[in-house]
Symmetry: C2
Subunit: 320 residues, 2 copies
Amino acid sequence: MQRDHGGNLDVAQARFGGDDWIDLSTGINRQPWPVPPLSEVAWRCLPTARAESRLIRVAADWYGCRREQLLPVAGASAAIQLLPRILCLGRAAVLAPSYNEHAASLGAAGWQVRAAPGIEEMAGADLAVVVNPNNPDGREWSPARLMALAATVGRLVVDESFADPRPDLSLARDLPGNAVVLRSFGKFWGLAGLRLGFIIAQPDLLAQLRDAAGPWSVNGPALEIAAAAMADLPWADQTVTYHSEASLRLDHVAQKAGWQPVGGTHLFRLYDTPDAPAAQERLARARIWSRRFPYSDRWLRLGIPGTRTEWDRLLMALTP
Amino acid sequence: MQRDHGGNLDVAQARFGGDDWIDLSTGINRQPWPVPPLSEVAWRCLPTARAESRLIRVAADWYGCRREQLLPVAGASAAIQLLPRILCLGRAAVLAPSYNEHAASLGAAGWQVRAAPGIEEMAGADLAVVVNPNNPDGREWSPARLMALAATVGRLVVDESFADPRPDLSLARDLPGNAVVLRSFGKFWGLAGLRLGFIIAQPDLLAQLRDAAGPWSVNGPALEIAAAAMADLPWADQTVTYHSEASLRLDHVAQKAGWQPVGGTHLFRLYDTPDAPAAQERLARARIWSRRFPYSDRWLRLGIPGTRTEWDRLLMALTP
């Protein structure tokens, strides 16, 4: 089954032509952490346990979790594929609407999947899946509310792919025993091509996941780059500040174009438009790619422009 | 369970000290394909379907298979982890001794695993796993013999991780319907840090594997680098020529040190030594790392030195 995702810029290019697109169809930071020249070893050699330990130290500091609770994997996506195949099958309640890969992956692995419009509808499930803050609508839940939820379900998976600018939302610092937190490296640091994410869970479950992922599941450049990027706290501060302001600015621009903000995160915003296909096409004619959803004719999601040039083109496209 | 592998150079460094090690503990080419500067897109963006198609075109030419039979994955390792969880469980016959991850991964997924000393002992198995040429002893089987084997088992998996210099051995050009071929990119092109491999199989099985791997399972730099590397036929010719000669030269050097060649491939050689722990330590004192096997006190495997400096140090270490 072909699942619907953002990041399909090549489809847009084929349909509308042109090369110099601004891809706002994802929530990937458009101002990536500046990658320095890599050690030759990162390319040539099998990733070492030492390189992985170095990354785990830095990442555990960033997430505020214990090192033995942290496993690097080849993207949050890899975690989403692995988990349903490792846990004992049962009935899963998955937040909806949300990132569609959770329900799809659980279903493919044989889980009985139920869409839950809110976390209140999840009690009693063998597995509850929440995205916090949620993609695409930006709904968010405090750690206290998620801890209460964890007490009513067999296991709780919280996908915190967009939580880097919001450590106050994270369950990683005080992880309930039956909770699993998923984190994405590529979005906040703007390096999605690297394929890196993390699973935060109790060590026994982590050991099973590590075995199932197999040896050397994360590439060498990712281990090296992320260990440096996640220790660069001044860059992170600056990135959070920029996106705090820029996300409000994007809402303002959208409202002037007649689109109502539904919600969002620091890294993307969701708008209610009178006609989403028309809105997407209007932007596409200016070679700006946006994200639509198969279940809505009105919703359009936009990532945050990264440079003055990108803002200018967006403003031009939305000025009548 | 911690499985035993080569590539654990950090263990050797911790034990013997020193930084300037020559790692001959793997079969990874020590003269890697020279990686040019990458496009910024490779790091920043989610890997596109276009980048994947480009790689599939080039790789299908290299392997001589049909494009629709080829799936890039995050290393041959990822394939070895995925397959046992996708196929229906049953009784597997796995060549032994061989690369130990096959039996381990099948066992972890719930297969009943039997070690087969040769392919003659595999008939009737639901799944037969052969490494061709074999690691570590270099045994090899012609496509005709493997086709005959395929007719007697439910499914045949052939791990051709070391077959790049030996296209005559590959089953990829004329794939039996129930066969799956695994290929590794990192070894021949010397870029194991990238984590790239391929599965060659019938399109229906490939579609299941693609779903299980999830979206964006291969990182962007790997897609870009491999598409260029696998099209560089002059480099490949030169690499095969060098390793043909160098592997014979290594056998010669080893024999003079009293080690008998057992077999091997273009990318590694296996020796029967009077005392493998002593042989490994002798090399380690010269900061050359080699590979031992938990099941043998005599076998030592060596990768092929890549430069004059590496040869010189090896010769010094082995001269009485």
